[in-house]
């Protein structure tokens, strides 16, 4: 059956009743639920609330700073010791890997970790920092090439 167009309908013709409903007993239960929420909210110290909000951003900032410093360190250290062409290739490789870690990725990883979606077998931040500061990273990468 073809749907008829609602020609010339005015708002005054409408039923003003709100066409939504709530779960049964919702308003009776709401004050109790709210009281619990407020208790939970009040028991979290302000410093913890602050830290939990900013933890992922702090972790992301630390990793980015470490990545930049490591990249700079490796580039400066190796400038006189290696074949410039090979150095350039390694430098590009390291740079691409390090700078591909963006804040959004780290935030997502942090959230996934909190949801236990990421296993503990992924390197801890200490291991990452150690890896990046590894003086032999250049040799290891050369061997891989």
């Amino acid at each position: 059956m073809k749907k008829e167009k609602n020609t010339g309908i005015k708002l005054k013709d409408f039923n003003k009743e709100i066409p939504f409903k709530v779960p049964e007993d919702y308003f009776n239960r709401f004050p109790t639920k709210l009281a619990e929420a407020i208790r939970d909210h009040d028991h979290v110290p302000a410093s913890v609330k602050f830290l939990s909000t900013w933890k992922p951003y702090a972790a992301a900032a630390i990793l980015i700073v470490v990545a930049v410093l490591s990249g700079t360190f490796i580039a400066n250290r190796n400038s006189s010791e290696t074949d410039p062409g090979l150095y350039s290739e390694i430098s590009d490789l390291v740079e691409n890997e390090l700078y591909s870690i963006n804040e959004q990725t780290i935030l997502e990883m942090s959230e996934m970790k909190e949801q236990n979606l990421v296993s503990d077998s992924i390197m801890s931040s200490d291991e990452v920092i150690h890896y990046l500061m590894n003086e032999d990273i250049e040799n290891e990468l050369m061997n891989e090439l």
């Binding site: 609602n6 010339g8 309908i9 409408f14 003003k16 709100i18 066409p19 939504f20 409903k21 709401f30």
Partner: protein, 186 residues
């Protein structure tokens, strides 16, 4: 319990709230007095029950924290509505940012929400009306809801939304025209 709520005026509830021993009792009375009104106000903006429940809780949590220092330059009712409106709008905006959705897509999502919502019990015409409302800018939709469904006076709305009566009348008038055109076309 309902009678007990109605016995207290807003001024009395605020006074009671400021007595340390009676703070929780006063707050409970405020919640029972305003929960439904605020719920439906938020629900008409967000449409989804669970989102509304969350924002209603947020609203009252804010009230709990701020009522002690409430200056009473507006009525309690106005102040509560203002907080609830801001919570709902903040939620909509954060939804847009979180999913990188432009305004139009958020409204499309909300339209889908109504269609699939087990808590929507309107007829075909009411569904069309709700979809028409979603074509309005958020603030205009709020103005329409407050005037059409809540039958608020413009002066009350002006206090809550901190906008002039003239601007509200113009906004509502245009909203009505847009909605009637939408319904005619659909």
């Amino acid at each position: 319990m309902a009678d007990k709520v109605i016995d207290y005026s807003d001024k009395e509830l605020i006074k009671l709230f400021r007595i340390p021993d009676r703070k929780e009792e006063a707050f409970n009375l405020i919640v029972r007095k305003y929960q439904e009104k605020l719920y439906w106000h938020i629900r008409k903006i967000l449409l989804d029950h669970n989102d509304t429940d969350d924002m209603l809780q947020n609203t009252f949590i804010k009230v709990w924290g701020a009522l002690e220092n409430f200056r009473e330059d507006a009525s309690l009712y106005t102040w509560l509505y203002r907080i609830a409106t801001n919570e709902a709008l903040t939620f909509l905006n954060s939804k847009k940012r979180r999913f990188l959705l432009p305004l139009v897509d958020v409204e499309k999502q909300l339209a889908n929400t109504i269609e699939n919502d087990p808590y929507f019990n309107g007829d075909e015409l009411q569904l069309t009306l709700q979809k028409a409302l979603l074509t309005l800018p958020e603030k205009q939709r709020i103005v329409f809801n407050m005037k059409y469904f809540d039958e608020m006076k413009y002066e009350e709305m002006a206090e809550i939304l901190e906008t002039s009566v003239g601007a509200l009348k113009a906004s509502y008038h245009h909203a009505v025209k847009k909605i009637e055109n939408y319904i005619t076309e659909h």
